[in-house]
Symmetry: C2
Subunit: 439 residues, 2 copies
């Protein structure tokens, strides 16, 4: 029996479409079937019109291929504008509001032939406030993470091969860990985030999810952010294991994932050593807090002025600056981050190819009132370099846990080449994920 189309990676589906062994319509119908059977539990989607999606897939089948992304369906986090669906921000203020214009990242993949399947649930404005109703595909009593909750759950549950998320703290990489999927947070500002709801200019980054590193690379090529990079071998690769200045927050699942990934890489011939960051890096977490709250105050002022009662208290607090962050503190936070970035970049070189660090404290926490803690992601978001989330293992609660690979700023192509080499070593559970969710 042939593989169910919805079970393919994006790269496999692309190859089948390019070879005309599978139609775009077959792929979309398979995704819709999967969604129909699982949506009552996983609740990943805020808006999805099956008939519209099938019509678009049929159109794609009639057109000459626009490249590797042709005909591949996407989930789009509902803080990102799309021409053909509303953008609600999961906020009552924008209930049903449709802008009619694709955000920049959506325009690029649509212009490359991709289909927008629907909008995925999110934490309100990808910041604070209402949580998504989405559940973890591996256990509906647990969160899929957030704020890219629906995008992470939909890709993890084989409902759609690709999805956009965003990250200001840990909103993209953490759901990758919790849902057993691959995610790229590219270097800051290498992919335009126009039309993606702003929360913090210095931190907001668009990212995408897939089911293997090849999926992430295929999308990256459409964004032209990758230069050809020499092939990478795990043998001899210099990996720095960074427990990070917030290691006290680690849980059993996170510790297991990091040590498992490190051991597997060492067993495969990588040179794995502990990496300590210089002292100033210990303050980056606080700098992130100052920047995200202070910039958030400017970002949410329009809703504060025009729809005060409908805006979540946590967002009103940013405008009111309840943390009492002074201009001086904000400038010091900027200056610290600005000075740490080149220091981090220069650590890479002859003695360090890539940093291995936790994606999350551990497995997805129980309950939908939380999306987990971004404590292990914030520093790397502020450092602006590329991060790749890779699934690693299952933790003591039986849920997936991933790890993060980090590279210097603008090294996205090289980091993905490293990730492609490391992923088969780190990720020992792909069959287990299929078995658990497909039965």
């Amino acid at each position: 029996m042939e593989t169910e189309p919805a079970r393919m990676t994006a790269a496999e589906a692309s190859a089948a479409i390019q070879a005309r062994k599978m139609s775009c319509e077959e792929l979309v119908r398979s995704c819709l079937t999967r969604i129909a059977s699982r949506d009552a539990v996983v609740k990943a989607w805020l808006r999805l019109d099956p008939e519209h999606a099938i019509r678009r897939a049929r159109e794609a089948d009639k057109l000459p291929s626009k490249g590797p992304l042709h005909g591949l369906p996407w989930g789009v986090k509902d803080v990102i504008d799309t021409a053909d669906y509303p953008t609600t921000q999961n906020s009552p203020i924008y209930d049903g509001f449709q802008v009619g214009r694709d955000a920049a990242p959506v325009a690029v993949v649509r212009g490359s032939g991709s289909l927008i399947l629907g909008k995925t649930d999110t934490v309100e404005f990808a910041s604070h406030g209402r949580k998504a109703v989405s559940t973890n595909p591996y256990n509906p009593a647990h969160t899929p993470g957030g704020s890219s909750s629906g995008s992470g759950a939909a890709v993890g549950d084989w409902q759609v091969p690709l999805a956009f998320g965003t990250q200001t703290g840990g909103s993209h990489i953490r759901p990758a860990s919790f849902n057993g999927i691959y995610g790229l947070k590219p270097s800051w500002n290498r992919v335009s985030r126009e039309g993606v709801r702003m929360s913090s200019m210095t931190l907001d980054t668009i990212g995408w999810y897939g089911r293997c590193v090849e999926d992430l690379i295929m999308v990256g090529e459409a964004f032209r952010i990758f230069r050809s990079s020499a092939p990478v071998e795990v043998k001899g690769l210099r990996v720095g294991v960074c427990r990070s200045p917030v290691w006290r927050e680690i849980e059993a699942g996170g510790e297991l994932a990091l040590s498992t990934a490190a051991k597997r890489l060492a067993d495969a011939g990588a040179i794995v050593e502990d990496l300590e960051l210089p002292d100033p890096f210990s303050w980056l977490h606080d700098a992130h807090t100052a920047i995200s709250n202070s910039e958030g105050g400017a970002s949410f002022l329009p809703e504060y002025v025009n729809a005060h009662a409908l805006l979540a208290q946590g967002l009103r607090d940013k405008v009111d600056n309840v943390l009492q962050i002074t201009s001086q503190q904000l400038l010091e936070a900027y200056a610290l981050a600005d000075s740490c970035r080149p220091v981090l970049d220069r650590m890479f070189g002859p003695s360090l190819d890539v940093i291995l660090t936790p994606s999350s404290p551990g497995e997805a926490p129980e309950g939908l009132h939380t999306t987990g803690d971004a404590v292990f992601n914030k520093m790397w978001t502020l450092m602006h370099g590329p991060n790749v989330g890779i699934p690693c293992c299952f933790g003591p609660k039986g849920l997936p846990v991933g790890v993060t690979l980090v590279g210097p700023q603008m090294s996205d192509g090289r980091l993905l080449a490293i990730a492609a080499a490391c992923a088969p070593v780190i990720d020992a559970a792909p069959e287990e994920r299929v078995r658990r969710l497909w039965g």
Copy 2:
């Protein structure tokens, strides 16, 4: 005879509306009359619906005041989304395209009671490509500057008291100089630019025009960016005259304005001294080029992919990276700017209150094929601090020329207080501007 409402500053109009001595409708009708008499020459507006504007003014008259901005009409540069007009970017790609949602800065002033009179002409995407058809109010053979061409011309020609512009290089402060008006470019990221077309995340800044410093302050208060600041006296004020590393580009008009402003301040008791910037600042102009071109490549990729033939060559060149800017060069440009910002900020203190520097090489050049040169603005845009453009005098060609006051990052309130004290000294030509344009 009472003053024509259109001839008032925004602050004067606000006071009259608050005191119910003038209705919002009277003000809007007066602006529309002025526009009707001058639009065939100045051509500041891309879209303006007089009946819609009058209806909105009547509504404002029926409502309780929402504060000082209540009933004041705005011109909005057509790279900025408004709920009630299209946003064309002056690009054939977006001809007639209406998004139906206010950009963040528009939402804030609308929520504060202001009226959106119409959309003003702009250089394509506020970047490169088609120029505005707008002319300089003082001589239609000359440019009003750009890219905020229509906003600058409309405020300068007394067609509207307030307008939004944007600045990536010198698009806001230069038109202030050329049109004899006041302009604030606030600290980077203190005012959300969501819904304003992106060109360069690191550089794009929203700004506003008015007819006096009080106008700029009144708007700034709606954006909550100003903290109360001690009153400022010109006597004893420490002013650093910065000819800047690009002084070789100065023209007669610009030299006249800078020396005139410096002399007037010194005559009024300020301590005026030349200010030299450290060597690394000489490279900021090149850093600006690397950043604006490289980031522009990401920003214009959506149109490059979806509407290649309709995108201006200069924008396609950014995507194609014809300047061949490497990742390394971009990172060096970021690192240079990041290291210069705190150095500049620290220059302010006991021996320096404010920097006085050119707003433009000189008067507005002849011809509408150019918008003039941003060479004297780019460094300050990259430094992220607030800039206030103040009219100073008329140059040898009989056109207005202004100067710029610069403060450290996040000192917007203090800089405006300094500007309020200095403006009556620097700007000796307000009656001359009225005489020239009102006859």
